[in-house]
Symmetry: D2
Amino acid sequence: MLIVMQSSATNDEIEKVTEYIKQRGFDAHISKGEDHTVIGAVGRKVIDKRDIELLNGVKEVIRITSPYKLASRVFKNEDTIIEIKDVKIGGGHIGMIAGPCSVESYDQVDATAEKLKRYGVKILRGGAFKPRTSPYAFQGLGEEGLKILREVANKYDMLVTSEVMEVSQIPMFLKYVDILQVGARNMQNFNLLKSLGEIRKPVLLKRGLSATIEELLMSAEYLLAGGNREIILCERGIRTFEHMTRNTLDISAIPVIQKLSHLPIVVDPSHATGLRDKVAPMSKAAVAAGCDGLIIEVHNSPDTALCDGAQSLYPEQFEELFIELKQLAKVIKKTF
Amino acid sequence: MLIVMQSSATNDEIEKVTEYIKQRGFDAHISKGEDHTVIGAVGRKVIDKRDIELLNGVKEVIRITSPYKLASRVFKNEDTIIEIKDVKIGGGHIGMIAGPCSVESYDQVDATAEKLKRYGVKILRGGAFKPRTSPYAFQGLGEEGLKILREVANKYDMLVTSEVMEVSQIPMFLKYVDILQVGARNMQNFNLLKSLGEIRKPVLLKRGLSATIEELLMSAEYLLAGGNREIILCERGIRTFEHMTRNTLDISAIPVIQKLSHLPIVVDPSHATGLRDKVAPMSKAAVAAGCDGLIIEVHNSPDTALCDGAQSLYPEQFEELFIELKQLAKVIKKTF
Amino acid sequence: MLIVMQSSATNDEIEKVTEYIKQRGFDAHISKGEDHTVIGAVGRKVIDKRDIELLNGVKEVIRITSPYKLASRVFKNEDTIIEIKDVKIGGGHIGMIAGPCSVESYDQVDATAEKLKRYGVKILRGGAFKPRTSPYAFQGLGEEGLKILREVANKYDMLVTSEVMEVSQIPMFLKYVDILQVGARNMQNFNLLKSLGEIRKPVLLKRGLSATIEELLMSAEYLLAGGNREIILCERGIRTFEHMTRNTLDISAIPVIQKLSHLPIVVDPSHATGLRDKVAPMSKAAVAAGCDGLIIEVHNSPDTALCDGAQSLYPEQFEELFIELKQLAKVIKKTF
Amino acid sequence: MLIVMQSSATNDEIEKVTEYIKQRGFDAHISKGEDHTVIGAVGRKVIDKRDIELLNGVKEVIRITSPYKLASRVFKNEDTIIEIKDVKIGGGHIGMIAGPCSVESYDQVDATAEKLKRYGVKILRGGAFKPRTSPYAFQGLGEEGLKILREVANKYDMLVTSEVMEVSQIPMFLKYVDILQVGARNMQNFNLLKSLGEIRKPVLLKRGLSATIEELLMSAEYLLAGGNREIILCERGIRTFEHMTRNTLDISAIPVIQKLSHLPIVVDPSHATGLRDKVAPMSKAAVAAGCDGLIIEVHNSPDTALCDGAQSLYPEQFEELFIELKQLAKVIKKTF
């Protein structure tokens, strides 16, 4: 931590700041510049930098160590690769996760999965518990939905992922799914994160609508600190002033995260854009930018979907897109 | 719902859209304009407007009824006034809630509350369970903290409010607090909202960092739909590109919400700005703009606070501010 | 400037960075911490910090001096007070600027000004050249509008302010107006700023829709660097994700700017909110927060206004508001 | 325009609104729904919808025609292709524009252009007049810079583009450049746009930092309305809360604009990200998403660049990237 003193700071003020941080367990290294004296505070304690900023004579306090450790490349330099059976995500392996927004019935999931499997998809997604902004909207089939996902996945030898919304649901999810999803609205539901840190199954953590990349990594740190090392990050669009798309997919988060962290980063173009005809271009962009996976909504009959049909691809559209994505991946030397 | 057809839409396309909405339980009223045919879809069913936007010939679909009902002025025109013992919030009565960010010890809370009571504050705030972005930061005293708050409040005949983070904590909170707070990060934790809809104690619902006013009202709708009618809304700053303050306090949300909803709206200037010297001007601004209450962090010794000391007022600062706020309230014909 | 090296940085890398900055005219002060070596670069040269961030072993580069000088409190501690005839803005004096959005006719301006003068307003505003997003919208009366403003102002012994859009218009404006306005969209029109730095009349500089406070102060620096010391800053709302109001009025910019700069800061609630019924609460909020002035749109007949009638107050509404604002100002010990 | 009345609106209120719009030259079509009466206002006049929203009984006013005409696909369905000599931009042809941020000397431009030409680049970029946030930063070589660009371009048979900042500079630019750039900060400098609408050379219009896509198209409309039909749009990043990259490159703007408008859309990844190592992934993303061109900063010696060296590619990095981009373009069936 660096404490930059105001150019008008007195020796007395500098001394008081020095004492203040020493009392809190830090070593102080003073360096006098032309304009400003800078005090380097060295130590491992947690301290709120704003407290120091309120001391007399202080201009600014600058944190120089990342607030996350286990999630950083400094802690672990090589890419984390999530391996479940024969599926790999990370380190050059792009994972493809696809399926309907909501589980509506066995037949719907079966019809969709049958095609996806044929196209080469190995991970099936589907919502059983749905976070809906309106209390009057369809809220999902609940445990029945998870059962359906599991049964269909077993039939086609696929993996399953679905969103968990509440601490009390975790044991139920562990029975049915291979990857537990944390939704954007729960990215900072710290009780949920702590509980998921204690399990030993992969967790896919979505970036919140207004979460910075650093906050996303801090939430991953909650999971890692609990001992769960199989974390997949997910970019799904941030909230900006632009309302032509539902959110603004932050494609640049891919290279930024890959530089800071060893964790794989996948992209959800369906929720980010909210419109079917934007899913293909944004999927291609994500792959070209080097993402480690995609989550795409596909529905055997989008026109009759109970939820988010408008952003779901028809199976045939998905097939065509997947072929193109594989070609793009080849150009940048990655594989699905 | 209004469906605006493209100027190039054919009669066949108009007919197909009409059929589509009729099959979904709506009546259709067609009106042909110079440029565009508009189809009015009348009915009470829930439908995803984006599904219609994907039909051929459709330009745009416009929702004309609010997605929230119970929270709106249309449903209830007169101001909701929250009454607990002799305290009123709403309808011309401005509530003052004050206290430390975190409960640290009995002595700390006692020392702070003793002064607040003397200044005329009737509602004591304090965090027992703390949502912290870092897993390594102080997480609060837990139930012990709630006990301290209750004991001190009883000693000084005050009310108590504290933040609940998890469904499973609700029964515990009901034993100790008078108003349950939902934090900004949990504004769309729908499981928590549903459970809080079923209790019969006031809930203070904070606006999420990137939540629109409409989404805040939708989350209130979750609480109201469960039967809990004692809801207090809270503006606490939104996330913008400007980083000189921690968040941007959206003062204009006060008159906007008061026009749309009958629920009281209070303001938290401490978390919004994150800096002590901005709390006073923003508190005054909120009162002058007509807010129904304030939540202000006050600590008997901010310099040694375990959390957010930098944004906590010294008791004497608070006293001075409160005197000025009462004078401002008088000018706009409200009372604390 | 502080250069924080990565914890893994080698001595060789540290040396190369040191040499790099020395070659560019800086002194280097090295301080070795537990985790990180920090190099303090002391000097007055301008350097792009990102260039250094790309050197091997560098973690982060932190600028510690403000990029603006003349606009800062460090350069000039006492409040700048703009004085024109008997009008003062800044240093406890709140200026009230009012008038129609656009000049439409002599009669319209005359009818509005007659009332404003009677209510105690001393500065008349009105647009002659209008920045409109659509090329098909009313673009203003041009020089004819400026003439009308001047004539009416002379009749009622008022001052005049109007927006200048282009370098070539400056000589014309100097003939007619007392304060030249720079609109939000031109806040970073650097050619315009340079030319306005050379004149010797007050300039009112509006904050851009997505300009940070620092950028606003940098644009003021352009004006000050040219020798023009009579600069008034103006907060008029920033662009955020919230669309219930046209923009989000950043009231907290008032205390933030007053801490950083000696320049007066006025607020434009009419353009910020875009709706008449939000102008009064936001004006009150701005005064309570300590602003140095207000610019309010008032029209003698808003229903027939050619531009922005929806955000213009009726003269009677303005009168009532102005009375309340004076009472609020008194509470915080300022005067109109 | 659709006027949605409140559910509580009286017949009298409906009648008054109807009269109001008729007096302003619109036809009124009334359709009564279950909850709301909707009045369709048909006509070609320009009216501020907020004026109607303030009439009694009105809930909302909805504009249903785009405010831009000439820029829309409705006006012109086939892609606009900009052709200059043997270079094409748009309609499947991806244009590559590259060069240094600033023109510093003949030798620098010559050294860079020589390599770019060899790699296959046909359009050279370089800044002669630089918009800088600080009045103390390097402001460009001015006309001398334009001369250098032209000379070097002639030597290698390339086209030239450079940013024009001021109306008075236009005649000078017409002498030297083939494409005139309008910078992000000038996107709503309407005087500049009007003047550029009158010339007959291609204009490259950059999206403002906080401009919506609709506003970008409105600014293009200013150029088109003046008769200049050779307009190239440019996405260069928008301002959001995320500060890890300088701006957030809105890749989804590519498919959104291509649906709404016939104009080509190019992408500037250098200014959007501000960091060299993010330029390659974002360039690939833009091409994969279907952009019509790229503007990339390349400098023969970025370490000594006077401006933005940190975001400039080394020539060899550019060469490698360009090869990969051509392969990606092939996959999506476009060509450079």
